[in-house]
């Protein structure tokens, strides 16, 4: 796609990218850097020593300290890592500092290329109030809602109740600076309002250092549909169609697909246009996502714009035939987009599932443990984005997402069948994951019918989900125990991250009965 001289005419040539992130997204960006022929630098904390992301980069810089504030959120340390390694660009990934305008500014002041939108765009879209105002001005439809300032819950009662009454129940309390389901609470009845406000405010303050809360009407039976946009510094802007991310648990996405199973061509065009207008309203540059709630009647409302690469970006890459990280780097280097809207079309159907270390049969509580066996599926149209490999440990320090499994197929039915097969083939043992639950979603008639509303899990598993049991498994365990499979292979202490003591030369071949 790109010759060795592709960066030759760029106004801001990039030769080495530092990724201010960890895990799967850091690995994913390093791979694009390698394919572009540019260098890569990882940063890592003590608990990420020897991690896949540290090893995937060309170089890596250790950040001392125990807390996130010392490491992945430490702007000064990250800039000095860039200086030390001669990195001339910084990619923030998602989460961490990706949507901190102060970081974007600090990077630029250092004379380093920032692979992301301007600080102005981050601020405008990062604050739900100013984003809302900008959207109303740009004629993008918005949801009824209002903001509440920071305060002790006792002082806020009157204002809170008045705002809640204006917005209407059920409502959603969200951290203004929030995202990823943190600091977000559903309130169905007025009597829970105060308690949930206190919790949301506290979560917002711990996670984002800003306790401002936003009250918004909860639109049930709606779908979460988001549009990928890509804008360059020459005034060109395109959308790369939509992703539907309706299946969520605790307001975190579990299954995403592109295109949406229900969007009509006319709505797709309107939504794409609205997304491009939203991005243009803040002079957006690079890759961004405009999220909408799609109501049953086909009306859609602006939710928010994510001014970064999204977790679920691979499904858009599959159906549009693009590499969004490559495009981000090109745009940051000052190059124009290599395609126009008319060049883009949807090819086939893609689905992504997020594999979490969590227990879907127990309220999706996070689980920890060793990845004693980690054997991903393979075959045509299967992609795995992960930051872990066999022998690593699912720990409590970071997000419980272990991997993203992505499939691409000619149509939705084929993609569902492919995903079900891929989930079944995934041998991931040693820590409880949601793989069995994902298999059941892929086999569920409501999913096949495209009934993927945001309450999909509650509606289809009202009493919770239970793992399937097998009467063969105890016999396999007994056989493995009696044959000494544990001694011959790997006995793994759950709290230690030690590698498995495999000995490939030791074999055992017996049969029963």
């Amino acid at each position: 796609m790109l010759g060795p001289d592709w960066m030759k005419d760029a106004p801001h040539p990039i030769t080495k990218v530092l990724v201010a992130n960890r895990g799967e997204i850091a690995c994913r960006i390093f791979r694009s850097c390698a394919e572009l022929g540019i260098g890569s630098v990882a940063i890592y904390s003590e608990s990420d020593r020897g991690s896949l992301h540290q090893q995937t980069a060309d170089e890596s810089v250790f950040l001392p300290g125990d807390s996130l504030a010392d490491t992945y959120l430490n702007i000064e340390a990250i800039l000095s890592a860039a200086r030390e390694t001669g990195a001339d660009a910084i990619h923030p990934g998602y989460g961490f500092l990706s949507e901190r305008s102060a970081f974007a500014n600090a990077v630029k002041e250092e004379g380093i290329v920032w692979i992301g939108p301007s600080a102005h765009a981050i601020d405008e879209m990062g604050d739900k109030i100013s984003a809302r105002r900008a959207m109303i001005e740009a004629n993008v439809p918005v949801i009824p809602g209002e903001e509440l300032p920071l305060g002790e819950p006792e002082d806020m009662v009157d204002e809170l109740v008045r705002a809640a009454t204006r917005v209407g129940y059920p409502l959603l309390l969200k951290a203004s600076a929030g995202g990823g389901g943190k600091g977000m609470r559903v309130v169905r009845e007025p009597r829970n309002l105060q308690r949930e406000y206190a919790a949301a405010s506290r979560e917002a303050a711990t996670s984002f250092g800003d306790g401002t809360v936003y009250v918004e009407r909860l639109l049930e039976k709606s779908r979460h549909v988001e549009v990928q946009v890509l804008c360059d510094s020459h005034g060109n802007a395109v959308h790369l169609f939509e992703r539907e991310c309706s299946i969520q648990r605790r307001h975190q996405k579990v299954v995403e697909e592109a295109p949406s199973p229900v969007l009509e061509e006319i709505t797709r065009a309107r939504m794409g246009e609205a997304a491009v207008n939203a991005a243009s309203a803040v002079d957006y540059e690079g890759a961004g996502t405009v999220e909408f709630l799609l109501a049953e009647d086909g009306d859609f409302h602006f939710l928010e714009m994510n001014t970064r690469l999204q977790v679920e970006h691979p499904i858009t890459e599959c159906i549009s035939g693009t590499d969004l990280v490559v495009e981000q780097i090109r745009v940051a280097a000052g190059l124009p987009l290599p395609f126009s809207q008319d060049d883009l079309s949807i090819r086939g159907h893609a689905i992504e599932v997020r594999i979490y270390a969590e227990d879907p049969s127990n309220g999706f509580l996070p689980a920890i443990g060793p990845l004693a066996l980690f054997r991903p599926p393979s075959g045509p149209g299967i992609r795995l984005d992960t930051g872990v490999r066999e022998g690593d440990e699912a720990r409590i320090d970071f997000d419980p997402m272990l991997a993203k499994l992505i499939v691409h197929a000619p149509n939705r039915d084929a993609a569902i069948r492919r995903m079900k097969r891929a989930c079944e083939d995934f041998v991931l043992l040693g820590v409880t994951t949601n793989l069995g639950f994902l298999c059941d979603i892929m086999g569920h008639p409501a999913y096949h019918a495209g009934e993927t509303t945001t309450d999909f899990i509650d509606v289809n598993w009202p009493d919770g989900w239970g793992a399937h049991t097998s009467d063969v498994a105890p016999f396999i365990a007994a056989a493995a125990e009696q044959f000494g499979l544990a001694r011959k292979s790997a006995v793994i202490e759950s709290s230690e991250g030690r590698g498995s003591p495999y000995n490939p030369f030791q074999t055992l071949r017996r049969s029963f009965p």
Binding site: K182, T469, I476, L485
Partner: protein, 158 residues
Amino acid sequence: MVDLRDSLGRRWQIAIDSEYALCDEQEVVNEYGFEIDARPNRIWVDGKLAHAVKVGDDWWVHLNGAIHVVSIDEQGAGGTGEADGMIAPMPGKVLEILCEEGDVVEEGQTLIVMEAMKMEHRISANEAGTVVTIHHAVGEQVDAGATLIDIDSVEKFN
């Protein structure tokens, strides 16, 4: 003979070379044929490949597209011994304690707020009664399975 407990809490007693096994003391037929593979963690079950790995006392098994966990049950360790306490469902930090020792609480009343992975989780009373002991203070890290609070249930007094 291997003593096992599956995810439903059923107790199994299995001897691989016997035609019969016990599941919750009921006799079941052992009709499976096993073959150990030359590579680690592989075992063939009636000609189908399964993967198995032992972590602590748990055997993790992958067969036919599904994952199962079966625990080795120490001989004579029977009886679940329901505790009158509330157990931390996952490792995390105690964020808030909403009761004091000696308080009379209702079933379902939130007593502790925990945090794990930046999410809050509410731990509620599993029965009505009097709070006897609070085992952890605000800010403390607790392991999964740690007893958080002991409650003397109302029923005991009746």
